[in-house]
Symmetry: C2
Subunit: 203 residues, 2 copies
DNA sequence: ATGCTAAATTAGTAATTAGTTACTATCTTT
DNA sequence: AAAGATAGTAACTAATTACTAATTTAGCAT
């Protein structure tokens, strides 16, 4: 039996705090997550949280970093195995959906920060994240076009927006349904529609 | 010159408060809008707000009602003029986008409430709203299929999700861009992609 | 003009928030 | 085993929150 150490290092606690936020955001609006709730979820006192992060905002920055890091890795790994750009898009889509299924609160945390005032530092970070994501999608679309795998007159920027929207639509769907189980199956039904939207040649 | 009456009726103030929320939500996360901020925006004291709404939650319910009412009217009017189901979808899409352009905070307020706990009364209202919206889209798609205007094997439910996602993707886009000006033009570029997704016959 | 009604103000309340401080307990290093 | 470092606690603070009650005042019908 593993005896739970009463004292953990700052590094370990930081990860715990990030996961606490991700967990708590599953049932609450992100802004409503208090440092008290985080502490309670970890079995610590509220003051202890501030041993590991200087401010509440620092926690949210760390959460965004965590999402960027993990989603980024998952996506990079998926795309790396692709045979061609269209296959890459499919793998990217599936990897993203799998990530959301594992961390349903992640996209909502991101969207939530996106609503903050423009000068907000966390929002800036989120904008960068989404910009990189969008660029990745646009590149794959451009390559697909260059290899004549999709509609030759394809508007890549619009197609990238639709890609993001497809994922976002699924997020709304699962928020309505209430359980993240439906996500994967709904995603499978949505993908053929996206393929047709970008005018991919059917196999 | 119109002399501004210093005292207005509860009915008038309620509408003012709803509009204040919609305005303030343009630059802040919805949850961060306080009754103090609302009062200040109207040139009233904070206590005055509670002369016209019993609780803060009642304000948010009124805002959701307002969105449902106005978006509903706009959409109904647009669809009524349609020549056929596919034309109806286009008009519905354009009406929705025009509404968002006029009230950019509306979709974000809706999405925000969607994140609240399941038992939250405002969330319940929002779920109903989105359900009616989705049903409307699904019906149009079913009619389009019946009239052989779209892909005969079309998955209507998935196509409805993609429709919502298309709009949502544009919302994300404008949040990133920072200004709602880009919305209309981005929407025009996105629509042909959606048409292709549902396999509509090109004119 | 004069009262009546209801909108608005003023000045509160209790609860909750992020963040701090003085202190204790535990681990690591030597 | 002693000493230094640091995770954790308990008990605060100052600010902000939604909400309330007593009082004042504006606008209306008569």
């Amino acid at each position: 039996m593993i005896l739970p150490k009463s004292r953990l290092s700052t590094g370990e606690r930081q990860i715990e705090i990030i996961h606490a936020v991700l967990t708590l955001a599953a049932e609450n609006s992100p802004d409503a997550i208090t440092t008290q709730a985080i502490a309670q979820h970890m079995g610590l006192t509220q003051g202890a949280v501030f041993r590991h992060f200087p401010t509440r905002e620092a926690i949210w920055l760390a959460v965004v970093d965590w999402v960027e890091q993990n989603l980024g890795n998952v996506i990079a790994a998926a795309v790396a195995e692709a045979r061609d750009p269209v296959d890459g898009l499919r793998r990217l889509f599936e990897a993203h959906i799998a990530f959301i299924a594992a961390h349903p609160s992640a996209p909502r945390l991101i969207f939530n920060e996106l609503q903050k005032p423009a000068d907000h530092p966390v929002k800036q970070r989120v904008c960068d994240l989404l910009d990189r994501y969008r660029r990745r999608v646009t590149e794959l679309l451009a390559h697909a076009k260059a290899e004549a795998l999709v509609e030759p007159e394809l508007d890549e920027a619009a197609a990238a927006t639709l890609f993001v929207g497809t994922v976002q639509g699924l997020v709304v769907q699962t928020l309505l349904a209430g359980d993240p189980q439906t996500l994967q199956s709904a995603a499978r039904r949505l993908w053929p529609l996206y393929l047709r939207a970008i005018g991919v040649r059917q196999p």
